[in-house]
């Protein structure tokens, strides 16, 4: 099912290696909650090694799509294909085992565990027992070091700020050795320099580990500098799919973000 070994050597892809083979294909995805349609017939592909921004204002349906991919929601219609396999409707844990890691918009650390334990358990369970315990702890240290958090066995989540908790989210997702990382509003709650750092980190994750990234964000700013492509959503529908520069001059995108008057 998978095109390569999840633990194999990373592809050293440049920022514009562009889409080669679609790693993730979302086709005709629809999600309704009772009578409310949150996402309507959305389709897009994410190529291996790409960083794709999934953007849109609040309530545009990006988090719903994200949750359908990550297994939190079962799609009402359409398909989610990952590495040639249909994953729509699978449980969150099984989707993680397939090679999709995710972070949360509002960090959800396991506060009763240390940082290292938070990440080590992700390495163990994320790889579904395909690794030995000693390796889990080593991988946890590597993931923590990569995001710039302490790697000792005693540091707890007490007193960690928003940026550090976001880093922990990232380390936890990385420890599952994903092929695809779903980053949910990684910039939310950060100051400008922290936003720049977060964006650089996502770039580094792609270049050093060869991980494909879908980055959900409601603000464009820093994201546009890093992504290869953006998919823009509004009211649950896709309104744009293309290069970031083109998005910034697309009248519909401008209208959604800045209002109809400016677009006109």
């Amino acid at each position: 099912m998978q095109s390569g070994d999840r633990n194999g050597p990373p592809n050293r892809l440049g920022p514009h290696s562009a889409k080669s083979v679609a790693l993730l294909s979302v086709t005709g995805l629809t999600k309704t909650f009772g009578g409310f349609t949150a996402v309507s017939n959305v389709s897009f592909d994410v190529g291996e090694g790409e960083i794709v921004g999934l953007i849109g204002p609040n309530g545009s349906g990006k988090s719903t799509i994200f949750n359908c991919i990550a297994g939190m929601y079962v799609p009402s219609a359409g398909s989610v294909n990952f590495a040639g396999e249909e994953i729509g409707g699978l449980s969150a844990s099984r989707i993680c085992h397939k090679g999709i890691g995710r972070t949360y918009q509002i960090p959800r650390p396991f506060r009763n565990l240390t940082l290292l334990e938070n990440v080590a358990l992700s390495a163990w369970f994320g790889q579904h027992g395909k690794t030995v315990r000693a390796d889990c702890w080593r991988q946890a240290e590597e993931a923590l070091a990569m995001v710039g958090l302490p790697t000792d066995a005693r540091t707890t989540t007490d007193g960690l700020g928003a940026a550090a908790l976001k880093k922990l989210e990232l380390a936890r997702a990385l420890a599952t050795q994903p092929k695809l990382l779903l980053a949910d509003e990684s910039l939310n709650g950060l100051d400008h320099s922290e936003m720049e750092q977060a964006a650089d980190m996502l770039q580094r994750i792609r270049s050093e580990r060869g991980i494909t990234i879908v980055w959900v964000e409601h603000i464009m700013g820093v994201l546009m500098r890093v992504v290869d492509r953006v998919v823009v959503l509004d009211h649950g529908e896709k309104i744009f799919d293309g290069a970031p520069r083109a998005a910034q001059s697309d009248p519909r995108v401008v209208e959604v973000y800045l209002g109809a008057d400016v677009a006109a």
Binding site: A70, S93, R94, P109, L113, W124, F125, R133, R172
Partner: protein
């Protein structure tokens, strides 16, 4: 497996507990039977409480463990009394039965995320269901009066696993069971599953998204916990040579298990053991005080004997509010703080 290498202090501790009956025999020869009985009870209940704490420590507050001890005890005794099946086979069957019941009740709870109060209520219903079954099947079980395992020979038999007349033997059987309980607790504590269950108790969705199959992890610990309690119940029946729906099953017992484990401390290895010492000593003290008090007997009549349940209830509330880490957990935390403060003072002095 990590962390199970025995430290000298652990070996000394185990030897000390193993030597307790000899101490009793030497210093209290006149009351040897009574004190041994007390110690055996403490060890047997410690094992059961430890079994419960395996789930309780992960936020799975079960009020259904009285059902598992009941199934363990009754299935073993019924198989022996009515089919002549030795407890060597009867106990594994009873343990397996309790495990299946635990998994059957646990699966829908965990699959559909029934947690907290609802989980407690559902497991409470299980306890009551098992108690009603025991009472309803009175032709076999003796109903609410209880029944006895059929005595084999002089009451000491390897084949029938009967050892009640020999308190010394009973003590070492209970001691072996207690050590087994501690070993299981340590194995769980040192496993990756423990981290998964800790994580799931904090945030089920986040746990699932790092690859933890929360339902499966919880079922595993439920199976282990219910099996331990069933084994404890079965051995208890073999020791007491009497089983009743209120002594080894039922809601009162379920609540006692929860109270004792919480009172001792559910997050520390010896917490449930401390809980067993505390509840047994408390129960005995209350019994002696109430039986010896003409005033209390005059006021309440024979119902004075039920006062211990009332006091348990009050204490449980107080423990949950003021000492959620239990006696041992709180003491250990206090000790660590004191040691840290001393170390800090020492550094400042230098």
């Amino acid at each position: 497996m990590t962390g199970l290498r025995l430290k000298p202090a652990t070996i000394i501790g185990l030897l000390a507990v193993a030597a307790l009956p000899l101490v009793v025999r030497y210093f209290l020869p006149a009351s040897e039977k009574y004190y041994l009985h007390l110690l055996i009870q403490i060890l047997l209940w410690s094992f059961i409480y430890t079994g419960w704490s395996l789930m309780g420590r992960f936020g799975l507050t079960s009020l259904g463990h009285g059902a598992f001890t009941g199934i363990g005890a009754y299935a073993t005794v019924m198989l022996w009394n009515f089919a002549g099946i030795t407890p060597w086979i009867g106990i594994p069957v009873a343990v397996a039965l309790a495990t299946v019941v635990g998994v059957l009740v646990g699966y829908p709870c965990f699959r559909f995320r029934i947690a907290g109060h609802y989980f407690a209520l559902l497991t409470l219903a299980l306890t009551e269901f098992v108690r009603l079954c025991i009472v309803g099947l009175r032709d076999f079980t003796g109903g609410s009066l209880g029944t006895q395992p059929r005595r084999y020979g002089d009451g000491i038999s390897l084949y029938a696993l009967q050892f009640e007349p020999d308190r010394m033997l009973a003590y070492y059987i209970a001691f072996g069971l207690w050590v087994l309980g501690l070993y299981v607790w340590l194995r769980v504590d040192g496993s990756m599953d423990r981290y998964a269950l800790d994580a799931a108790s904090q945030d089920e969705d986040a746990a699932a998204s790092v690859g933890i199959n929360v339902t499966r992890e919880r079922l595993k610990i439920t199976a282990l916990s219910s099996a331990m309690c069933a084994l404890g119940g079965a051995i208890f029946a073999q020791y007491q040579m009497y089983i009743g729906p209120d002594t080894i099953a039922g809601l009162g017992l379920s609540l006692n298990i929860v109270f004792a484990a919480i009172a001792g401390g559910i997050w520390v290895l010896l917490g449930p053991t401390v809980g067993a010492v505390f509840t047994q000593v408390l129960a005995e003290t209350l019994r002696v005080v109430i039986q010896g008090s003409a005033t209390l007997k005059g006021m309440f009549g024979s119902s004075a004997l039920a006062l211990d349940q009332l006091i348990y209830g009050l204490l449980l509330v107080l423990f949950i509010i003021y000492m959620p880490n239990g006696i041992l957990g709180t003491t250990m935390a206090w000790w660590r703080r004191r040691a840290a403060a001393r170390a800090a003072t020492g550094r400042a002095g230098n």
